[in-house]
C-alpha cells in the first residue's frame, strides 16, 4: 500500500487521477497547489508525487525544488506544456518522470507503477553488481539467465531483440546505425537488408517502453541510428 500525492489546480483532473489510482490500490492524498503539496508531504508519509507544473500560489517546479531539499521521493510531473525545454527543466530540477497532458490513463498508471517499483524495491540497493548483468536506468539484463527486467517486471524478448538490447546495454549512450546493429547482431554483411533492424527495434521498444512512440530507454536518433539512454 503506497501513498500517492496528486497535486493539480484542476480539481477534475485530480479527481480522475484519484479514481484511476485508487482502483489500482493506492492511497491518495490531494493538493491543489505547490505549497499545499509541500504541507501534505510534511504531514503524511508519501511515496510518490504527481505534480502539475502550472499552478497558482506555488508552481510545480518551485515546489519540487523545495521538496528535493529534503526528500528524494519520486516525482512525476504532469505538464500541459509540450515543450522540450519544459521537460528538460523539470527533469533537471529533480523530477523522475513526466507525463504530458492530455495523458493516457494507462500510460500514467504504468509510469506510476514503474517509479514506485524503482523507488521501493530497487532504490539505492542496485549496487549488487554481478558479472554478465547489465543495468541501465531501470532495465536489468542478466546475460546468464537471459532474463530482462524493466522497472521490476520481467519482459520476454525474442533472441534477436535480446541481442539487440544487449548490444545497447553494453554501450549505453552510443549511437548504433542500423548497419552496425546488423553486423553485430546478425553477424553478417548488411546488403540492403538492414531495413529489418528498424522493425526489430520497434518491436523491442514496444516491449520495454511504456509509450513506444515516446521512448525513455531506447531512443531513436533520426537519420543516424539508435541509442540506449544512460
Amino acid at each position: 500500500m503506497y501513498n500517492i500525492l496528486i497535486c493539480d489546480d484542476e480539481k477534475d483532473i485530480v479527481e480522475a487521477l484519484n479514481i484511476y489510482l485508487t482502483s489500482e490500490g493506492y492511497k491518495i492524498f490531494k493538493a491543489y497547489n505547490g505549497s499545499e503539496a509541500l504541507g501534505v508531504i510534511e504531514k503524511e508519509e508519501i511515496h510518490l508525487v504527481l505534480m502539475d507544473i502550472m499552478m497558482p500560489v506555488m508552481d510545480g517546479i518551485t515546489a519540487m525544488s523545495k521538496l528535493r531539499e529534503k526528500s528524494n521521493l519520486p516525482v512525476i510531473l504532469l505538464t500541459a506544456k509540450g515543450e522540450d525545454t519544459d521537460k528538460i527543466l523539470g527533469l533537471n530540477v529533480g523530477a523522475d518522470d513526466y507525463v504530458t497532458k492530455p495523458f493516457n490513463p494507462v500510460e500514467l498508471i504504468a509510469r506510476v507503477k514503474a517509479q514506485l517499483r524503482r523507488y521501493m524495491t530497487l532504490g539505492g540497493s542496485n549496487t549488487t553488481e554481478k558479472k554478465d548483468v547489465y543495468m541501465v536506468s531501470g532495465i536489468i539484463l542478466d546475460d546468464k539467465s537471459k532474463q530482462v527486467v524493466v522497472d521490476g517486471e520481467e519482459v520476454s524478448l525474442t533472441p534477436t531483440e535480446y541481442y539487440i538490447l544487449k548490444l545497447f546495454m553494453e554501450n549505453p549512450g552510443k549511437v548504433y546505425s542500423p548497419k552496425d546493429i546488423y553486423k553485430e547482431v546478425w553477424k553478417d554483411i548488411p546488403l540492403g537488408s538492414e531495413g529489418t533492424v528498424a522493425v526489430h527495434i520497434r518491436h523491442l521498444r514496444e516491449k520495454i517502453e511504456i509509450n513506444p512512440s515516446e521512448p525513455r530507454h531506447l531512443k531513436v536518433v533520426w537519420g543516424q541510428g539508435y541509442k540506449m539512454e544512460e
Partner: protein
C-alpha cells in the same frame, strides 16, 4: 593763484613765449645734434675738411703737375709708375716739398707749399682761376676761388656732362675751350685753340746734314733729390760725355716687302699715305712699315701710354673723315712732360731717348737742324707743340707744324651739384668759416629753450580752460570742433611748412624765407595745446572726433553685413548637396591656384604649389578614407546583425558624420524593429504555450473521464457506442491540437532547428521500420531505390523524421491497398529538370540561386480516392485529398511537412498526376 590761472594776458604772453621757444629750440636742437654727433662739424670736422681739401686739390694738381713729377722721378718706366698712390706720397712727402703747392685753408693756414686757396665761398657755383707758370723746375699753381662769374645753366652743358651730372657721378667739369678734367681721373688737355697759339713751320728741304748728340740718360732709380731740394741725376742734364755721331740720311732708302716683320696676320695693301705703304690686317688694323722693316701700328699702344693728350688729339684727327688715310704720329708735349726731351744747345740737340720713340726724330740728322731752328724760333714761348707734320718720301720733304705759345691764366670752372652732400668740402668749409659759432652755441641755447618750453607748457596746460567769472572749465566754440579735424589741419599745415623747407631751401636765405610758414605753425602750437588741455579736462578728446563717429558707424555696418553673410553661408551649408560643395570647393581652389601660378610664374613655385596641393588633397582624401572605413566597418557590423552597435561619430568629419548619424538612426530603427519582433515572437510563443495549456487542461479531463466512463458498466449498448465515439473524437481532438500547435510553430519559425549530418538512407529505414506494421496491414509494399551512395544531408533529424512520419503516415492512410510505394533517392543539380519543372524553380525560394547539388527524395503512391485537387491546394492547411473527410486526419500533415522542410533550407513539392500521388523532397 586763481588770478594767475585766469589771466588772459599772461596766457597770451606764455603762448608767444612757448612758440618762440619751440622755434628756437628746434633750430638750436638741430645744430646741437650736429655738434654733438659731429655729423656736421664737430671735433673731427676740421680735420676731415682739411683732408678733403687736400684731396680735392691734389686731384686738381694731379693733372698739371704729375707729368713733370713723373718725368723727374722715372722717365723710363712711365707706364709702370703707379702714380695714383705714389704720386701723393711723392707730392706731399716732406722730401719733395719742392714740388708741393701751397694750399691755404680759409682759416689762413698754409697746408702745402706753393699751393694755396685764397678763399672758399659757397654759393652754389665756384670758379677757380688757376695759373700755371713754367719756371726752371718748379711749377707753381695758383687756385683762385672767387665769386661766381659765370653761372652755367644745365641746358648749356654738353650731353655727356648732362648725362654724368644726372647720374651724379661728377661734380665738376669744364665748359668748352677750357681745361677739362674729371673726378678721379687724370685725363686733361689744354685746348689748342687758345688765342695765343702760334704755328711755326719748318722746312727741311735745305737741310743737308746734322749732328746728333746722344746722351745716356740716368736710370729712373737714380733720380733723387738732394738736401737742397734740387734733383740729382736730372735726365735733362747729361751725365756722361757727349758723343757725336754723324749720320747721313738717304731719303730714298727702300725697304723690301719681304723684310716686313711683326705680325702673323696676313696683310693686305691698303694704299699709300704720305709716301708710306699702308697695310691692313684681317682684324682691320692699319699698319705701315718703318725704315727698319718693322711693322708699326698706325695708332699704336705706345702712343696711348706715352701720353693721352697727344693720342686723344691724334685719335680725333684720325677719325675725321678728311684725315682718314693720314699717318698720325703724335708728339709728346714738351711741357706736358713726354718721355722725349729735346734739348737744344747751340748746334747740338740732345735727345734723352734714342730708340723708343719715332725713329725719324732720333736718327735723322736733319732733325738737329729742325730743332735748332725750332728752339730758336720758339724760345720765347712757354710751350711748343707739334700740331701737324707731313713727309713726302719722293721729294724728301718733311714738314712739321708746331703750335707754340705762352702760358696764361686758364679759367677753370667748377660746377657744383645743387644737392650738396653734407660732406662736400665746400659746404664743410663754409660751415667752418661761418657756422662754428652757431654750432658751439647750439647746445646751451637748446637747454635754455627746453626749460622755457617746459615752464610755459606746464603753465598753459594748467591754466587752460579757466576763465574769469566762469565756473569750472570754459569750453569755447573752437574746442567744439572735432579734435581730429583740428589735429589734421594743424598737421597738414606743419607738413606743408616742412615740405617748403625741404624742397626749396638751397640757401640759408631762402631757407629763412621759406621757414616762415612753419614758424607760424609752430607759433600756433600753444593754441592747439590749449584746446587739447581743455578737451582732456572736459573728457571729450576721443568722443568729439569724426574718426570715432565714423568708426562706430562702420562697426555697425560691418556687424550687420557679417550677420547677413553668416546667414547666407549657413543657408548654403545646410542646403547644398555634398557634390556641389566639393565641386564648388575644387573650382574655387583651382581658380585661386591658377592666379597663384600666374603670380609665381616660375616652375619651382608651381611645383612647390603642386606638392602643397598634393599634401592637402592627400590629407583630405586620407581623412575621408578613414571616415569612410569607419562607416564601412560600422555598416558591416550593422548588416551582420549587431543591432546594438553604435558608430562613433564624434571623431568623424563633414558629411561622413552626418552619414554616420543616419546609419546610427537606421540602426536604431532596426533595433527597435528587431526588439519589437523579438517581443512579438516571444509573445507569440507565450500565446501558443498558454493556449496549449488552456486547451489541454480541459481536454485532459475530457479524455480522462471518457476513459473512466468507458470502464463503467453502463449496460446500455447505445451508451457504449456513444462513449466509444467520444473517446475516438477526443483522441482526434488531442491530435488535432498537437498538430495545430506544431503547424503554427513551424510556420511562425518558433521551432528550433539543430542541424547535423543526417543519413537519409538510415532515416528512411527507421521511418519505414516504424511504419512496417501499418504498411503491412494495408498490403503496401515500399520499394526503395537509392540512385546515389551519398545520402547524408545537413538537416535536423527530428524535424526530418516528422516530415517522413507525416508522409509515410499519409501513404499508409491514403494509398490504394496492396500497391507498391516507390521511394527514390537521388542526387541532382539545380539545372536538371524534374517532371517538367526545373529544380531551380523548386528550390529557389530556399536556396536563393545556389546551384549546389541537392538530394531529392520522392515518394510515389497510387491514391485510394480520386484526387480531384492540385498539389498546391493539398499543402494548404486543413485540405485533404478526400473531400468527404470521413477518415481520420486533419489535413495539417503536408502543411507541417512543407514548413519543416523550409525550416531546414529544403523544400517539398507535391505532384498529382491522375491517381499518382508524388511528393518530392529537396534536401541540401
Amino acid at each position: 593763484m586763481k588770478k594767475l590761472r585766469e589771466s588772459g594776458l599772461l596766457k597770451f604772453i606764455a603762448g608767444i613765449t612757448l612758440g618762440l621757444g619751440l622755434i628756437a629750440g628746434i633750430v638750436s636742437g638741430i645744430f646741437a645734434v650736429g655738434a654733438v654727433s659731429e655729423d656736421y662739424y664737430g671735433a673731427g670736422g676740421k680735420e676731415r675738411l682739411k683732408e678733403s681739401i687736400i684731396e680735392e686739390i691734389a686731384w686738381f694738381y694731379n693733372s698739371h703737375a704729375m707729368h713733370y713729377v713723373e718725368h723727374k722721378l722715372n722717365a723710363e718706366n712711365y707706364d709702370e709708375y703707379e702714380w695714383d698712390e705714389k704720386f701723393y706720397e711723392d707730392l706731399f712727402s716732406e722730401e719733395n716739398t719742392n714740388y708741393m703747392f701751397n694750399i691755404t685753408t680759409p682759416e689762413g693756414k698754409e697746408l702745402l707749399s706753393n699751393y694755396y686757396v685764397d678763399d672758399v665761398q659757397y654759393k652754389g657755383q665756384i670758379e677757380t682761376n688757376i695759373s700755371v707758370e713754367q719756371e726752371q723746375e718748379v711749377i707753381s699753381c695758383q687756385i683762385n676761388v672767387t665769386d661766381i662769374v659765370r653761372p652755367v645753366e644745365y641746358a648749356d652743358l654738353p650731353d655727356y656732362a648732362k648725362e654724368q651730372y644726372d647720374e651724379g657721378e661728377w661734380y665738376y667739369y669744364s665748359i668748352p675751350n677750357a681745361v677739362e678734367y674729371y673726378d678721379g681721373d687724370v685725363v686733361g688737355y689744354v685746348d689748342d685753340s687758345q688765342p695765343d697759339s702760334t704755328s711755326v713751320t719748318v722746312d727741311m728741304s735745305d737741310v743737308t746734314a746734322v749732328t746728333v748728340n746722344t746722351v745716356e740718360m740716368p736710370d729712373a732709380t737714380e733720380v733723387a733729390v738732394d738736401a737742397a731740394g734740387s734733383v740729382v741725376n736730372d735726365p735733362m742734364i747729361p751725365t756722361t760725355a757727349v758723343e757725336t755721331t754723324e749720320v747721313t740720311v738717304d731719303a730714298t732708302t727702300e725697304i723690301a716687302p719681304e723684310e716686313i716683320i711683326g705680325t702673323d696676320n696676313p696683310l693686305e695693301p691698303a694704299g699709300i699715305s704720305n709716301g708710306l705703304e699702308i697695310y691692313k690686317d684681317s682684324d682691320g688694323v692699319y699698319y705701315y712699315i718703318d725704315e727698319y722693316g718693322v711693322l708699326q701700328n698706325l695708332i699704336s699702344e705706345e702712343y696711348y701710354t706715352e701720353g693721352e693728350l697727344a693720342v686723344e688729339e691724334a685719335m680725333e684727327q684720325y677719325e675725321a673723315e678728311e684725315n682718314k688715310n693720314r699717318i698720325i704720329c703724335a708728339y709728346r708735349h714738351p711741357i706736358n712732360l713726354n718721355n722725349l726731351y729735346v734739348y737744344g744747345n747751340g748746334n747740338d740737340i740732345y735727345i734723352n731717348i734714342d730708340n723708343t720713340i719715332d725713329y725719324r726724330l732720333a736718327d735723322s740728322s736733319k732733325y738737329q737742324f729742325v730743332y735748332d731752328n725750332l728752339m730758336n724760333k720758339t724760345k720765347d714761348y712757354d710751350y711748343v707743340y707739334r700740331a701737324n707734320w707731313d713727309y713726302d718720301i719722293a721729294t724728301g720733304t718733311y714738314t712739321e707744324t708746331y703750335d707754340c705759345g705762352n702760358y696764361q691764366d686758364i679759367i677753370l670752372t667748377y660746377y657744383v651739384k645743387l644737392e650738396l652732400s653734407a660732406y662736400d668740402h665746400f659746404a664743410m668749409s663754409y660751415r667752418l668759416k661761418y657756422m662754428t659759432q652757431i654750432y658751439d652755441a647750439a647746445l646751451p641755447v637748446f637747454v635754455v629753450c627746453c626749460v622755457i618750453i617746459l615752464i610755459t607748457f606746464a603753465y598753459l596746460v594748467w591754466a587752460a580752460g579757466h576763465k574769469k567769472n566762469v565756473e569750472g572749465i570754459a569750453v569755447s566754440g573752437f574746442d567744439k570742433i572735432p579734435y581730429d579735424v583740428v589735429l589734421a589741419v594743424y598737421g597738414i599745415a606743419a607738413l606743408f611748412g616742412l615740405f617748403l623747407i625741404a624742397e626749396n631751401g638751397y640757401s640759408l636765405r631762402s631757407m629763412l624765407v621759406l621757414s616762415i610758414p612753419l614758424c607760424i605753425v609752430v607759433m600756433l602750437f600753444p593754441v592747439l595745446l590749449n584746446t587739447t588741455a581743455v578737451r582732456f579736462k572736459v573728457g571729450s578728446v576721443l568722443k568729439n572726433t569724426v574718426t570715432v563717429k565714423v568708426l562706430k558707424w562702420i562697426w555697425k555696418c560691418v556687424k550687420k553685413l557679417f550677420g547677413q553673410c553668416k546667414s547666407i553661408f549657413g543657408y548654403l551649408r545646410e542646403n547644398m548637396n555634398i557634390v556641389w560643395k566639393w565641386v564648388l570647393g575644387f573650382v574655387a581652389l583651382g581658380i585661386f591656384e591658377f592666379f597663384l601660378c600666374m603670380a609665381f610664374s616660375d616652375m619651382e613655385s608651381v611645383v612647390m604649389l603642386m606638392m602643397l596641393d598634393f599634401l592637402i588633397i592627400g590629407a583630405v582624401l586620407v581623412i575621408a578614407a578613414i571616415n569612410m572605413n569607419k562607416l564601412k566597418e560600422g555598416a558591416k557590423k550593422i548588416a551582420a546583425g549587431n543591432v546594438g552597435y553604435k558608430l562613433d561619430t564624434d571623431h568623424m568629419l563633414w558629411e561622413f558624420k552626418k552619414h554616420g548619424e543616419t546609419l546610427n538612426s537606421i540602426n536604431d530603427g532596426i533595433s527597435v524593429a528587431v526588439n519589437e519582433r523579438l517581443k512579438s515572437e516571444h509573445m507569440q510563443t507565450e500565446l501558443i504555450t498558454n493556449v496549449t495549456h488552456d486547451i489541454k487542461t480541459p481536454l485532459t479531463s475530457i479524455i480522462s473521464y471518457v476513459d473512466l466512463l468507458s470502464k463503467e458498466e453502463l449496460n446500455n449498448e447505445k451508451a457504449d457506442e456513444y462513449v466509444e465515439v467520444l473517446s475516438r473524437q477526443s483522441e482526434r481532438l488531442k491530435k488535432l491540437i498537437e498538430d495545430l500547435i506544431e503547424a503554427s510553430k513551424a510556420t511562425t519559425g518558433n521551432l528550433k532547428v539543430e542541424f547535423s549530418d543526417v543519413d537519409v538512407k538510415v532515416l528512411l529505414e527507421q521511418s519505414l521500420g516504424e511504419f512496417s506494421d501499418k504498411l503491412l496491414a494495408k498490403g503496401l509494399k515500399p520499394v526503395v531505390n537509392f540512385h546515389t551512395d551519398d545520402t547524408v544531408v545537413r538537416a535536423d533529424g527530428k524535424h526530418l523524421w516528422r516530415v517522413f512520419d507525416n508522409l509515410i503516415n499519409n501513404i499508409s492512410k491514403y494509398a490504394q491497398d496492396n500497391t507498391r510505394v516507390y521511394v527514390d533517392v537521388e542526387r541532382v543539380t539545380t539545372d536538371e529538370t524534374i517532371d517538367g519543372m526545373t529544380l531551380d524553380d523548386i528550390v529557389k525560394n530556399s536556396y536563393a540561386g545556389n546551384s549546389a547539388e541537392v538530394l531529392k527524395v520522392s515518394f510515389k503512391n497510387i491514391s485510394k480516392e480520386e484526387l480531384n485537387i492540385s498539389g498546391e491546394e493539398l499543402m494548404q492547411r486543413f485540405v485533404r485529398g478526400d473531400k468527404s473527410r470521413n477518415t481520420e486526419g486533419n489535413g495539417l500533415g503536408l502543411s507541417i511537412a512543407k514548413s519543416l522542410m523550409k525550416l531546414q533550407d529544403g523544400d517539398l513539392e507535391i505532384i498529382v498526376d491522375g491517381d499518382l500521388f508524388k511528393v518530392v523532397l529537396i534536401l541540401k
